[in-house]
Symmetry: C2
Subunit: 227 residues, 2 copies
């Protein structure tokens, strides 16, 4: 029996939620080790030395091999474990389209989503003097543009992002797009294709989607009530 | 005989330079199609319809299959063509370490390098009122931090980024790190490991490195003379 993969995660992080769902859905034996990033539990010397030198969440240790970054870990697990083909098809063109989407997401929605959430969060909660309504509005505009591009360019009704079956692109995208809810923005409003696609991802990943997002939704509700 | 890959590129773009070197070094038959991005040649309707819907440079068309993004294209070519193993080894852990580096670069040096170059360029050349010396200095500080982290965490004297032979991580990193020269910053000053590693990459990629960077260096010299 292979030893379970040690999985260090915080379900408030997008990549952690995607990986949690992936571990659960694929039944890869794993040992879940929650790390509370908001309390800085990943910033200890012990974490740097024993888990990840860049102190990132999520990280894994697979039989002594340490690895970080959600996309990198997913692709590693796909090579190393017995995983259904549809998650990252061997067909070279399909694989290229998934990679192209993930790079697009990294360059576009991830970048502006993070900036928007951070900026608005700082303004609402820690009164950081470098934050401003003007910056928040600029980032919000960029997030809206990106979501519109996703709706227009990437989604075809009734399908997943790349093809007819769920892939790593869908779970990484869904977790990312949920993120602005932390600061009270509903990314799905006025975007029927995006909303229908999310329902399809959520349905396909039941009950793991709900489990992965349970704490996250509680957190977003608390944040919404506060403001 | 397979038809040559159509390669749309602008050697002022980091990923275009990396791909140019890769095509030349691996002898993949290709048809070079220069696109002048500073003149907006990638922003035409024709480019969007016939080459790339996101109007990106670099892009390829391989026997009718359209693909964009430098990292995605490199990995696609490695699957599709006869390429020496060392560029992206089949060994799963080495491959994971290359992916981890590339994601680190994307999240760190690429992000801040681009922001720094754009901000300083705007301040120097187009007097954009949203640019400011303060922002430039903030980005410069972040670039310096990233370069220090690269020097400290990723480089081992006498080696490439991952292992003893050159990989796609090295060419993508080298082209990225050269970029701040556009605004007069020398990334190698005071970083002996970084400078020695670049020399190793340059030597290994001679004469393609020089060919890929010829126009870029002329551009950086002109920009330096102007300021």
């Amino acid at each position: 029996m292979p030893r379970p993969v040690k999985f260090f995660y915080d379900l408030l992080s997008t990549h952690s939620r995607a990986l949690y769902m992936f571990f659960e859905a694929t039944k890869i034996p794993y040992d879940p080790i929650p790390v509370c990033a908001t309390k800085g539990e990943h910033l200890t010397d012990e974490y740097r030395e024993c888990v990840n030198r860049f102190q990132q969440v999520p990280s894994i240790i697979d039989d002594g091999f340490k690895l970080s970054n959600g996309v990198t870990i997913l692709k590693y697990l796909i090579r190393e474990k017995l995983i259904p083909e549809h998650w990252y098809p061997r067909d070279s063109q399909l694989r290229a389209k998934i990679d192209e989407y993930l790079e697009w997401q990294h360059d576009n929605s991830s970048k502006v989503c993070n900036a928007f959430v951070q900026e608005k969060w700082s303004l609402q909660n820690i009164e950081d003097e470098r934050s401003s309504e003007q910056k928040v509005e600029e980032y919000r505009r960029q997030v809206e543009q990106n979501l519109n591009q996703l709706e227009r360019e990437w989604l075809v009704p009734g399908r997943f992002i790349i093809g007819d079956r769920i892939t790593i692109a869908d779970i990484l995208a869904a977790c990312e797009i949920e993120q602005p809810k932390i600061v009270g923005m509903d990314p799905f409003q006025g975007r029927p294709k995006l909303a229908a696609w999310l329902e399809k991802v959520r349905f396909t990943m039941t009950p793991y989607y709900q489990e992965a997002h349970q704490d996250f939704y509680k957190f977003t509700e608390k944040a919404a009530a506060k403001n």
